[in-house]
């Protein structure tokens, strides 16, 4: 009979997966897959089983992020674009992001990453207070930090002769706010 995880092990794995931003439904799958992989992979000369289990859950959680597809432009409403925008050059965007990260200070990078996390995680996972707390700020301080960062991004973009959206995977004129007709 295959071994079953204890409650402690299940909770530990669940906590790791959830704390990496996985929604509950996906965290359940990651936990069950990680357990099966750990049981299969374990041998006494590889160190403790618990440590192996934790490593596998962490790795599966990272893999979950990698397997995600790019989010659609609009999820709530059915939209028809007046004119299809050109797709962003992803390699160029990646290069621009690297260049931007190098130019930002460590604090600015943290604000940038936390801002992205707040917008990218499923709704309700990381609210404004939680995002601010990750940086040791109040929500008001975090808002101000984001506004300052926005200014910094715009100055860098201007200095490098780039449109600000060059740092993001956003096509020119893409987005529900510009040139879009709602249907349905």
């Amino acid at each position: 009979m295959a071994p079953r995880p204890t409650q402690t092990q299940l909770r530990k794995m669940a906590r790791i997966a959830l704390s990496r931003g996985l929604p509950e439904e996906d965290a359940e799958d990651v936990v069950s897959v990680a357990w099966q992989k750990a049981v299969k992979a374990y041998s006494a000369d590889r160190g403790g089983f618990e440590a192996l289990l934790a490593r596998i859950v962490q790795r599966e959680s990272v893999e979950w992020w990698r397997r995600r597809k790019r989010r659609p432009v609009a999820e709530a409403a059915k939209l028809e674009l007046v004119q299809s925008p050109p797709a962003p050059d992803l390699e160029r965007v990646a290069n621009n992001q690297r260049r931007l990260f190098e130019a930002l200070s460590p604090d600015e990078r943290r604000v940038f990453t936390t801002w992205a996390l707040q917008k990218h995680l499923p709704q309700g996972t990381l609210d404004a207070a939680g995002a601010a707390a990750r940086l040791g700020m109040t929500p008001a301080e975090f808002n101000n930090a984001k506004r300052r960062l926005k200014g910094r991004i715009l100055s860098l973009a201007e200095a490098w002769g780039l449109p600000p959206r060059a740092f993001f995977s956003v096509a020119e004129d893409e987005g529900p706010r510009k040139g879009v007709r709602h249907v349905g």
Binding site: M1, A2, P3, R4, P5, T6, T8, Q9, L10, R11, K12, M13, A14, R15, I16, S19, R20, G21, E24, A27, E28, D29, V31, S32, W35, G48, E50, V62, W65, R66, R70, R71, V73, V93, A94, Q97, R109, F112, T114, W115, A116, L117, Q118, K119, H120, T125, L126, G130, K146, R147, K150, L154, A157, P164, F167, F168, S169, V170, G175, R177
Partner: protein, 378 residues
């Protein structure tokens, strides 16, 4: 180029997988994981357990095979086949009779196994004993002779070993062993002691919610055991820890733990402090009537104690919070009557209150002023 804040905010939703920004985001989650609620952890753990459990159950397809298996199980367990058949699912897909899941261990196998467990424990290899025990259990089940004693020794040894290292896995292993013991032998004569020890281990591991559950179970199910009083007090501390972490709903549990303790040991020297704690929790949850009742008792128990002074202040504060000026006045007047010397530091409050009541309740205002005039503050 000008860009509105909201527009840039929307750009952050469009992040390409494998982009440097996406990698930075994932890395930040590894370096600084999100806080997650115990409720979400429990839900995911329960669902994952459901997903993993079906693969481990034996399945026979076809009623004939089921009946044959059930008959064999009944022979092994020495039970009437009718009891086994009752365990069959209506559609006859899955057998769940526990005896059908395990092999039968001979006396020699049992003796060899127990001897090896004892040897490993003597050698200080509690983890090795634990692994051997689990392998044996998965093959032969939880009810083989001597397993209760062996599992008890293993859990206690793992717990002792965890105290000597800073390895969090060591504490978790001890927790697993305790949990398994309580699952398999929760009705044994040693169960109360094991629950107490498990509660201590959970408290040390800062799993205060689970520690609370164990302590509360000892108090409820083993009220006359040697650890009941300690567990009753520890439940209060565990609830305190959860409150300090901002976990919702724990004030009520803290109150329950404190009032359980007070019911059992009302004349204990610690009763005043425990009563103050219960009163304070009532106060923080807005139940001022219950808070006042307990605070009043704290004062009556020993008017000169530090808790009495704080209790008096909080009774008055409760009235202020509710803007119950009449109640506040009556409370001050009663306090002045019962403990005249204690009104001294409330003079300013009483004067302000009298002024406030002049228009709406001049009689009370006048009584307050009379009491103040009669006080000797020197």
């Amino acid at each position: 180029m000008s860009v509105e804040f909201d527009e840039m905010d929307g750009w952050f939703e469009q992040i390409e997988v494998d982009s440097p920004l996406h990698d930075a985001m994932v890395e930040s989650l590894n370096d600084d994981p999100l806080a997650v609620s115990d409720d979400a952890v429990n839900r995911v753990a329960a669902s994952a357990q459901e997903k993993l459990a079906p693969a481990n159950n034996w399945r026979w397809y076809g009623l004939a095979g089921l009946v044959a298996a059930a008959a064999l199980a009944a022979l092994i367990a020495g039970q009437p086949i009718s009891e086994v058949q009752d365990a069959l699912e209506p559609d006859g897909i899955e057998v769940r009779h526990p005896a059908a899941s395990y092999e039968v261990a001979s006396a020699e196998v049992i003796a060899d196994h127990r001897s090896e467990i004892a040897r490993r424990l003597d050698d200080g290899d509690a983890y090795g004993a634990w692994q051997l025990f689990q392998a044996f259990r998965s093959q032969y089940g939880p009810n083989v002779d001597g397993m209760e004693q062996d599992l008890r020794k293993i859990a206690v040894s793992l717990h002792a070993a965890s105290r000597q290292t800073n390895d969090p896995d060591a504490l978790d292993r001890a927790g697993d062993a305790y949990a398994l013991y309580l699952q398999d032998h929760g009705s044994s004569e040693n169960a109360h002691a094991m629950r107490y020890a498990y509660g201590e281990m959970l408290y040390k591991a800062e799993r205060h919610d689970e520690a609370y559950d164990q302590y509360a179970t000892v108090v409820r199910d083993f009220p006359d055991s040697q650890h009941a009083k300690f567990c009753a007090e520890s439940a209060i501390f565990a609830a305190d820890q959860m409150i300090a972490r901002g976990e919702s709903g724990w004030e009520a549990k803290g109150i329950e733990a404190a009032e359980t303790w007070l019911d059992r040991w009302p004349d204990d020297p610690k009763a005043r402090q425990i009563r103050y704690k219960a009163a304070y929790l009532h106060y923080t949850t807005g139940d001022h009537a219950a808070a006042e009742s307990q605070f009043t008792q704290v004062i009556a128990d020993d008017p000169t104690s530090p808790e009495a002074g704080k209790a008096a202040d909080l009774i008055l504060d409760g009235y202020v919070v509710r803007e119950d000026w009449t109640g506040l006045a009556d409370s001050l007047l009663l306090g002045a009557e019962t403990y005249p010397e204690a009104l001294g530091d409330k003079r300013e409050m009483a004067e302000a209150l009298a002024e406030k009541l002049d228009a709406t309740d001049p009689e009370r205002a006048a009584r307050l002023r009379e009491v103040l005039a009669n006080q000797d503050y020197y």
